[in-house]
Symmetry: C2
Subunit: 539 residues, 2 copies
């Protein structure tokens, strides 16, 4: 900090907002509400508690919880202690969580009581953590839940901690603020590192692009563990928006919260919008004031857009990856689209679009690294560079170098550029399925299948799905003389993988191979996607 | 530029906006209109012309013009050549302009034809410039105007230049982008240096704080030479807003342009709002859609706020200095002010408020550098630090060090902090008068007066003024046996100073002194401000 230079960080936003709007509601959850003054105090107490524990600059603290207020507190409290938040996907199983705790080198874990109970299978590993804080939630269903010995109560820890503002922990804006684990092409999830600078710029863009400000009310339908809620976990409190927390996304509850709290913004995969659309079919309703919703992971369909227009929900289509702090492109709606029929509008809006205001450069490059022509036909890989590309993969310089080859971040997504410069995705080069907005590594699933004693080999590919966008399907070749049912294969997977990663269907047959012996996953995918113009649902 | 780091600069915003909205109107002036594609091409051509001239990184190019499209082009075109824009106050006289050209070391000048003619008295100095570009304006009244030999036509220069995108000129976000000359406490104006990083962050804040985006239409009532139009000269084109240019601020024209072009935003000193209010008294009108107006330089009065409510103009009160890229605070309107009667609302809105979203830290410090209590009574100096404080004074490390003493930028403004943390100005410690939003150095005026053969000594202080906020008044002691009229003193000043700097009134008397012989300017001011609660108009 000098007279004319301060590190860019979301923490400065919260300092300002809490000072300017101390009495405004920062967080709502069930019957609990915190003002910004109270929220900031809880953030400071959490940071002080972590400092007392000895958390130092860039040390990791993991968080495992649904969208309850504690996670929003952790997004500021952990960095305010100088630490790095590792928000873990709540749909992972105990073993998968264990891998992330281990790989991130997390020194502490803050967990929702109900979810912590699910970690009993890795109880011994949890012993290695220096501190476990348990946040009880009366809305979580009946307890008491199992908890590891020595785990401490989150509320009691906060109450016992110093409420004073901790020393400002950001010396350098390139300091890490978060690590987000994502399934990549290789089986093991990779830790994507975010910096304070990148998080601030994305949070600011969330405000600019969505009109989020101190009059907004933001509903937490998007998981906070998912790219830190596309950086809204910093943007909403930082810009003074009220956060309405939500343990579970359920259509009636979403509708009621929007009405009850005057929600102005929410985000999520199209499935969240679909839920609302279906509910409105059964019980017609329309929001009195317009609600803005940013959606990504799959493009919104014409049917969905039309339904949202009826509900008074204004949809923005975004695209991004964990490696880009969430959204890096936005399908900007042009003024002359206003009069279009919904089909034509949906056609335009299905595209991933253009880089957001602070995202830097976007390009679709051919194999030689040259930009493809704007013909809507020539495919290339979607590549990015700028301030909102990750710092790198945690403890994986090889993977980082590979992703950054040639001076661009390679998304692994294949697309075209249309005449107006908007990109449209067509396929993925990586072995990734995106289901309900979450990445699934097909190789990770194949590795599990290959370990089954009756399976000779397996290939996992995506199949289009109206609800989830895509779902994984397994092609399995059995060892000679063995028999297996699809249900048995799925059950086997569920023992080792989060349920959403497991095949929805199993097809038993010999796998097609290339002349060099490589499994033709492409050919398998073509069969499941017959009749679809592209190989990404809705695109 | 690396994969995950790019210099923060407004240039990146324009690149994106021109790519996304090529057909949208970027600039309107009279019957001329440019799309963003055309505007970008003109920016590129200007940059290429300057590159051909040999302008290199951080070299200065001066601009002298009212709010015509050329100035908006120069704000991007000069930096795109790597240069630094020096936008000169159009109200200065030839000698004053000459000082700035000299001190800034400007290598070229781009000037409006009518204003360039006013520089005939410094014709010899202009010979020293390597290039003078003249922008003709059919709206400027009858020419032909005098122009220095060798001056070239701006449009012809653009037409002859390469239209290709120049190489990206920003290697480091701390690179200078502009120098703005401001009257300080010492007589000579000082050059305030802005960086690309600071300009980007202020431009982004303009967007966040005012809801300026690619659906906005911005009317140029605020001079672009004034803190680069509070950085709106980068924000408006950068964020995709249409700029409606305006050679001269005249009430009927402002009203008509707002209606004709659907203006959504404009900025300026309260005098601009006053003009509209007066017009509406004579010819009642009300804008159909709300217009947002940010005002600064003096607080809006209750009468003015009430008038603006009737016109459907939503007023925001800002405060800042040239040294803070324009506004650094905003009087954020709290939700519970909504029902207030206009007097009570104006009372709250008259305060300078809180730092803007990206302004960093604001403090009111006592003589020992300690924050004053929040009692609304204890005065201290308003101090700031953060990314939107200037890089420094150009070629004046002594003045820079002094302004940055103790790790804070010292504004020279005295104020209090109220219970809610909002600051309110009460006085200025520096010898500055702010008249119609422009700084006047009393010492500069005193130096001119002291040079008069009949004047023994003189002191210049401010007097409240309903139209201009404040105006300068001179107290003059004559040499024994001499006589002078007020009119003669004012005429003498006008020979050497811009008219707005000259005393509006002259009072002949011996000057009151302290026991140590120092002129008691404070006592003189007290006489002129009797009956006012503070020593700044409206505060």
């Amino acid at each position: 900090m000098s007279v004319n230079h301060a590190p860019l960080t979301p923490l400065a936003l919260l300092q300002r907002t809490a000072a300017v709007y101390p009495g405004r509601t920062a967080v709502v959850y069930g019957t609990r509400q915190f003002t910004f003054a109270a929220y900031r105090e809880r953030v400071y107490r959490l940071a002080q508690a972590l400092r007392t524990l000895g958390i130092r600059r860039e040390e990791r603290v993991a968080v495992l919880a649904p969208n309850v207020p504690m996670v929003l507190e952790a997004h500021y409290g952990i960095p305010w202690a100088g630490g790095v938040i590792v928000a873990i996907n709540t749909r992972l199983n105990a073993k998968e969580v264990g891998y992330i705790l281990e790989h991130s080198g997390s020194r502490a874990l803050i967990a929702d009581a109900a979810l912590l109970a699910g970690l009993e299978p890795i109880a011994r590993q949890l012993d290695g953590l220096e501190r476990i804080l348990v946040a009880e939630d009366p809305d979580a269903g009946q307890g008491p839940f199992w908890r590891p010995p020595g785990a401490q109560d989150y509320e009691a820890t906060l109450a016992a901690a110093d409420a004073a503002e901790p020393p400002f922990p950001v010396a350098d804006e390139q300091q890490s603020i978060a690590i987000d684990y994502t399934s990549g092409t290789t089986g093991a999830p990779k830790g994507v590192v975010y910096t304070h600078r990148g998080a601030l710029l994305n949070a600011v863009n969330d405000g600019l692009q969505n009109g989020l400000d101190a009059r907004s009310v933001y509903l937490w339908t998007l998981p906070m563990f998912h790219c830190n809620g596309w950086c809204f976990s910093w943007a909403a409190p930082g810009l003074g928006a009220t956060s309405v927390c939500l343990r579970q996304v359920e259509a009636r509850r979403v509708r009621d919260l929007i009405v009850q709290h005057g929600v102005s913004h929410f985000c999520g995969a199209p499935i969240v919008l679909q839920m609302l659309a279906q509910l409105a079919e059964a019980e017609p309703f329309r929001f009195e004031t317009p609600v803005r919703s940013a959606t990504g992971g799959a493009p919104p369909s014409p049917t969905l857009l039309a339904a949202m227009q009826r509900l008074n929900v204004q949809v923005t289509h975004l695209y991004g990856l964990t490696e880009t702090y969430g959204p890096c492109t936005v399908c900007e709606v042009q003024e002359d689209w206003a009069g279009l029929p919904v089909d034509a509008l949906a056609d335009r809006m299905a595209r991933q679009g253009v880089p957001h205001l602070l995202a830097g450069e976007l390009n679709v490059l051919d194999a030689q690294g040259r930009p493809v022509p704007r013909d809507g036909k020539t495919m290339g890989e979607v590549c990015l560079r700028g301030n909102t590309v990750m710092k790198g993969y945690f403890r994986d310089p090889g993977a980082t170098d590979k992703a950054f080859q040639g001076g661009w971040f390679h998304t692994g997504d294949l697309g075209v550029v249309q005449a107006d410069g908007y990109i449209a995705l067509r396929d993925r080069s990586k072995d990734i399925i995106i289901s309900g907005g979450e990445n699934i590594s097909t190789i990770e699933v194949e590795n599990v299948l290959a370990a089954h004693p009756d399976i000779a080999e397996a290939a996992v590919v995506s199949r289009p799905d109206d609800k989830w966008g895509e779902v994984p399907v397994a092609f399995v070749a059995l060892k000679p003389g063995r028999t297996l049912t699809a249900a048995a294969v799925i059950a086997f997977c569920r023992e080792q993988l989060a349920h959403y990663k497991c095949p929805q269907d199993v097809i038993f047959e010999a796998l097609p191979r290339t002349s060099t012996g490589k499994v033709q996953k492409f050919a398998l995918r073509e069969r499941l996607w017959a009749g679809h113009a592209s190989r990404i649902q809705g695109a």
